[in-house]
Amino acid sequence: MTTPLPPGIELEKIDERIMTLNVGPQHPGSGHMRLIIKVDGDYIVSCDPDPGYVHRGEEKMAEYRNYIQNIPHLERPVIHDSSNILYPYCLAVEELLDIEVPERAKYVRVIASELNRCIYTLYWLAIYGIFLGHSTMFMWPAGDRELFIDLLEAMSGARVTHAFLVPGGVRNDLPANFEERCLRQVNYFEKRLKEYEAIFYQNPLLIARTAGTGILSRTDAIRLGTTGSVLRASGVDFDVRKKEPYDVYENLDFETVVMKEGDSYARSRVPYLEMFESCRIIKDALQKMPKSGSVRTKLKPNPKGGNDEVYRRVESGRGALGYYIVSNNRPEPYRVKISVGSFRNLICIPYLLKGEKLGNMPAVYWSLNYWPVEADR
């Protein structure tokens, strides 16, 4: 007699027709998470997402470190978008400690976070390509991503985990001739992006597998509280950069990308079109940026936060990203809550996969712009 396995591990057979499948947590099609899927033949009857395999307790760790020590570990949930996950933390701490940020630092931050948004989106797009068996779409974004990685390496000294944004500004000033180099690479990248259109977005393979699958209506997108590209692909015009502008976004020239279809194709296309807007923002910011000046306001050593609380949010690569910080007159925060786009979009997975073909699961799942490590924190 064999020993019974813990629940959820075995290949459960409910009745003659319905079978339970575990996708993940080591499946390349799910990332570090498990999807418990019940199938009837080829169709998904229900799906229960089981995240938490990369839960690291960032919020708990933040309660033990002071406001400066918290910088490097808080960017770990999504290292490809490290500037955007630190951005609301810096805004929140600045509001808590009442710090003014120099004008030049605001522009440098915007440039860093837009470069990071492109890095993240390209990484996501590369994986979306390989999910659908399109290996060229894996190679191209992975190669073009190096352009921006090099730029951020020149800015911060690190290739991936930059820890570049700090409360009070940025860690260091831009290197010499950065503007020129950045402009050249962004212009080149825009030309490359147009080539993606022909090879990927007009490709019959992509259209056949994504168009019309996993449709999320506008009402449901609002009701489920989705955010980011998922929300904008369903026809809701909401971008924190426009609706609650932070730093200098209100001075910069860009538009929100909105699509009405709400299917996987629209969800995969919105981040792509947003990269053009990111390039526009970077070029505009380079032009409007003060050419010299301080980039960091010095904090007092071990600053204390007062008896206060603050909630600040920004638009990251995966949607609105908010930090809720409670402080109690101590150098360490009393409580840090990170509200991330991936976790908010998790609720869509059971909703969208129900009734879908099992073969469409990767196309729908990865179009949600879901990053398992960020959702777990």
Partner: protein
């Protein structure tokens, strides 16, 4: 000297224009001053300003005030408005009243989704606070707003998640988007959400046998 005279004139002009309204209180005055002026103002009043307390010399925003007034006039003493700041309103209520307040916020004020549900543990006062951060996608004026709705539940020294007094009604029927946030709150703080259809663990492993880990009495080893 010239500046001082101008300052003396300003309040008198405003009082002439709105003679019906009561005279501006100290807080109203403080909101119109800049940071340096506010520091002097406090010093004249004899209020001690230690350097660690941040000063927010921002005026109370009118739109946010009108929203919080609507809730305050509807529920009276049941709701306590904690602060009104630009784009942020925070109010707290008892857990018995939270469903009524939430329905009012959704139906009358146009907030349609939850951004986050945060638990905060207060072992000294033996309470756990649940804070809902609500936002709006459909109301154009409220797209920049976040309304925090807080409630407190009793805290047990030895928690038995789901079986003790730490429970509050779920807001899932009001804001569908809180479903996974409340599941996270349940496993991390041990606060049971009554009426939630799916109070299972989400992030923690199935065989987690320790106390809920985001409570203050759960210490990280070595710290």
């Amino acid at each position: 000297m010239v500046k001082k005279k101008e300052k003396d004139k300003e309040p008198s002009e405003t009082t002439d224009a709105h003679s019906d309204k009561p005279e501006p209180t100290d807080t109203d005055l403080a909101n119109t001053l800049t940071k340096e002026e506010l520091r002097k103002f406090y010093e004249e009043k004899g209020i001690d300003l230690s350097l660690d307390i941040p000063i927010h010399p921002k005026p109370i925003p009118q739109f946010e005030k009108s929203v919080s007034d609507k809730i305050a006039s509807k529920f009276g003493s049941k709701v306590n408005v904690d602060y009104v700041r630009p784009n942020r309103i925070r109010m707290s209520t008892k857990r018995e009243d939270i469903l009524d307040v939430a329905y009012f916020i959704r139906d009358e004020l146009g907030y349609d989704h939850a951004e986050s549900v945060a638990g905060v543990d207060y072992p000294d006062s033996k309470e756990i606070e649940i804070v809902y951060h609500l936002g709006s996608y459909t109301d154009e004026q409220k797209e920049s707003q976040i309304l925090s709705l807080a409630t407190r539940v009793p805290r047990e020294d030895i928690p038995h998640p789901g079986k003790d007094r730490s429970r509050t009604p779920t807001l899932r029927d009001v804001f569908y988007s809180v479903e996974f946030h409340e599941r996270e709150c349940f496993e991390m703080f041990g606060v049971y959400f009554e009426g939630h259809p799916d109070n299972r663990r989400l992030l923690l492993p199935e065989d987690w046998a320790d106390i809920p880990p985001f409570r203050k009495d759960f210490k990280i080893k070595g710290r």
